[in-house]
Amino acid sequence: MVATFASFDAALAANDKWTQRVVLIDGKPTVCTDVSTRHGTDSPIASAQLMLPAPAPSYLRPGATVEVQAGYRGITATIFSGYIPTAESVLDTGGGWVTVTATGWLALTVDPPRRAARWRGPIQLREIVRSILRERKVPYTLIDDITDDTGAPILLGTNEAVNEGIVEIGTTTGFFSWLTQTLSLFGYEIFDNPDGTVRVTRISGIPDRAPVMTVRQGRRPSLSFGKRWTTDGMITYPDVRGATYTDEDGAQQQVRSFPETVVINPVLRPLGYRKGDRSSNALDTNALADLARNHIERTSGDLITTVRWATELAPHIGVGDVVRVRSSAIDADEDVWVTSIAHTYSAEALKKTTFEGQRGTGIARPAGIDTKEYVLRRSPVHLGDEVIPWYAVPQPSGASIQIPFTVPETYFSLKIVALAHGCNSYLLDGENTEASVSKIVLYQNGEQISSGTLQSLDEDYAAQLPYGDSDTHWSRIAVPLSGSLSPGRAVLEIVAGEDSKATGGPIDDFEIKDIVLVASGVGEPVYVRED
C-alpha cells in the first residue's frame, strides 16, 4: 500500500514516497515536464520557469495566473503563485517545448505611481506598505507589525521640518524600490513567499524565532551543506544619513547616526574597521537613523556568513522562517534566517529544495553625538555708546568685538547661538522700535565670508531690568553661518550698528554673552580595541 503522509515532517522522514504536483495556468491543470521556482530576499520578486510540451495550450496568454502546488501523497503546498509576463516556444532536435516564465505578485508594485503618493505623517510604515499593496491589488499579503527594538511601531513623517511631515513617493520612483529600500533600513524585508503571499517580516541579527525545521548532516532529508564566510560586505562603522531640513534657527541640518565607538577588528585589513555610508530621505529623525544603523551593525558588523543546504522537496518552508542547520563537516550548528528558496521539480531527477540562510552576529552600538558646541565667549559684553547702569556691564566696549575661532575639519552646518538683549531695538517716543543695523560678520583669511543680521530684541529701556542678576531677561538668539567656510582659523565680528533715528545715541546698545559656535555633522566615533 502506498504511504500517504499527514505532514511534511512525516513525508521528509520517510525513505520512500510518491511525489505529487499540480500546475494551474488560469486555473486549468496543465502538463509540465519541469518546474523551477526561486524566492528570496536578494531577488524579492519571485520567478518560476515551467516547461510545457509544444504546442502551448490555448489558455496560455500574457497575464495568465500560475499556481504550482507540490508535495507528497497526502500533503501538498503551494510553492509558487503569480502571473505570466513571458513565454517562449522552441522546436529543435530535442522536440517542441514552451518555456513559460512567471513572476510573483510583488511585481505588481514595480511601476511608479501615476501621481505622487502622499501620506500625512506621523504614519506607521506598516500602513504605507499596506496601502501600496492594496492599491496595486496584490492578492495575498502577510505584513508583520513593523516596529523598533522596543516593539513600538515605526512612524514616518514625524518631523514637520522635513517636507512638512508628508511622506511622499514621486512619479519617478517605483513603489517596489521604495518599499525594499525603506523596509530594509529597519531590518525588514518584503518578498514573494513560496506560499503565494507577499510577505513583510523582520530578518535582522540573530534569529529570535523557533526553528520550523532542523536539517542534520547524515539525516533525511538533507542532501548537501555548504558554508561561506567573508569579510566582503562587513561594515563596522555605519554612517547613516537621512533627510535634510531647516531647523528652528534657520540652519540646515541633516539627520545622521554613527556609532559612539568603533571596535578595531584585525580581520579588516588594513584599517581595522570599514566605513559604510547609507542614506535615505525616509529617515526624518535621528531615532530612525539610529534604528537603521543598528540593523547594519547587527547584520554586517561581523563576518558575513552564509549557509547553504539542500533537501528533498520541502514546500512548507518560507523565506524568513528559521531553520536549524547542523553539520560538523561545514562547522555549522546554528539557527539561520532562510533568505532564499529554490525548488526544482524535474521529471527525471529528485525533487529538491535548495536553501540559503544567514544570521547576523554583529552588535548594535550606542549612537555618537553629531553636534559639537564650541564656547567662544562666556562673559557678557556691552556693545554701543551709552553707559547703562542696569546692564550686566554698564560701560560699553565699543561698537564691535572680534572673536577668533576654528572651523572644524568637516561639518554640515554652523550657527552661532548666544544670549542677548536689546539688540536691533531702541526707544523711540517711549516705544520699542525695531532696527536692522547690528549684525554678525564672518571673516576668513582677511575676507568677509558672510554676514547676518541679529534678531531684534526689545530694549525695554524704561523697565531698567537687572541683566546682571540672572539670565531671566536675556533671550536666546541664533544666527546660521552661511557661506563657504574652510577648515581653519576664522573671525566672528559682532557689530553694533548705527541708526540715526535712535535718541539715546546713534549706536545700537545691547549685550551679548554665552556665545557658542554650534557645528552639526561633525561627529566621529572613538576607535577602541577590545581584548
Partner: protein
C-alpha cells in the same frame, strides 16, 4: 517460427498477426519512475516515485504481404488503434475486452508505433516478420 495466435489483430487497420517468442507471448508493461539520491554521510537513500513511464509493448508481428508491411512501417511514429488478443495479456482490464469469433480482443486507441527493433525478414512465401515496439500513454 512459432504458432499463429489470432487472425483478427491489426494496427491502423493493417492486419497482422502477433507472434509469441519461443512460446511466450509478450505483454504490455510500464516502468515506475524512480529518482533517488543518497543522503551524504549516511547509509540512507531518499527515493521518490514519480508515477509511471508509458506502457510499452515489444512483440514479433507477422504481415501477410510486403505491401502490408510497407504500409505498416510507413506509420512509424504515428498513433493509431491497435487490436490484439486480450487473453494473452495480464494487464488488460476485464471491462475493456470484447469477444469475437471465440477469442477475447482489446482495442487500444492512440497507440504509437515507435520502433523497429531488428531489420524485417521476408519469408519465402511473401510474408514479412518483424519485431516492433508500441507505446501508449498512461491515461
Amino acid at each position: 517460427m512459432n504458432g499463429h495466435i489470432a487472425p483478427l489483430t491489426h494496427f491502423a487497420g493493417i492486419p497482422m498477426t502477433i507472434l509469441s517468442d519461443e512460446g511466450r507471448v509478450q505483454d504490455w508493461h510500464r516502468e515506475l519512475v524512480v529518482n533517488e539520491e543518497k543522503v551524504p554521510s549516511s547509509d540512507s537513500t531518499i527515493r521518490q516515485f514519480d508515477g509511471y513511464r508509458d506502457w510499452t509493448y515489444e512483440t514479433r508481428v507477422l504481415f501477410a504481404s510486403v505491401e502490408d508491411w510497407q504500409r505498416f512501417d510507413a506509420l512509424r511514429g504515428t498513433s493509431a488503434s491497435l487490436r490484439h488478443l486480450a487473453s494473452t495479456s495480464a494487464t488488460v482490464p476485464i471491462a475493456s475486452r470484447y469477444h469475437q469469433l471465440g477469442d477475447d480482443y482489446v482495442t487500444w486507441p492512440n497507440v504509437t508505433y515507435v520502433r523497429l527493433v531488428d531489420p524485417p525478414r521476408r519469408l519465402r512465401d511473401g510474408r514479412v516478420l518483424a519485431r516492433v515496439v508500441f507505446v501508449r500513454g498512461n491515461a
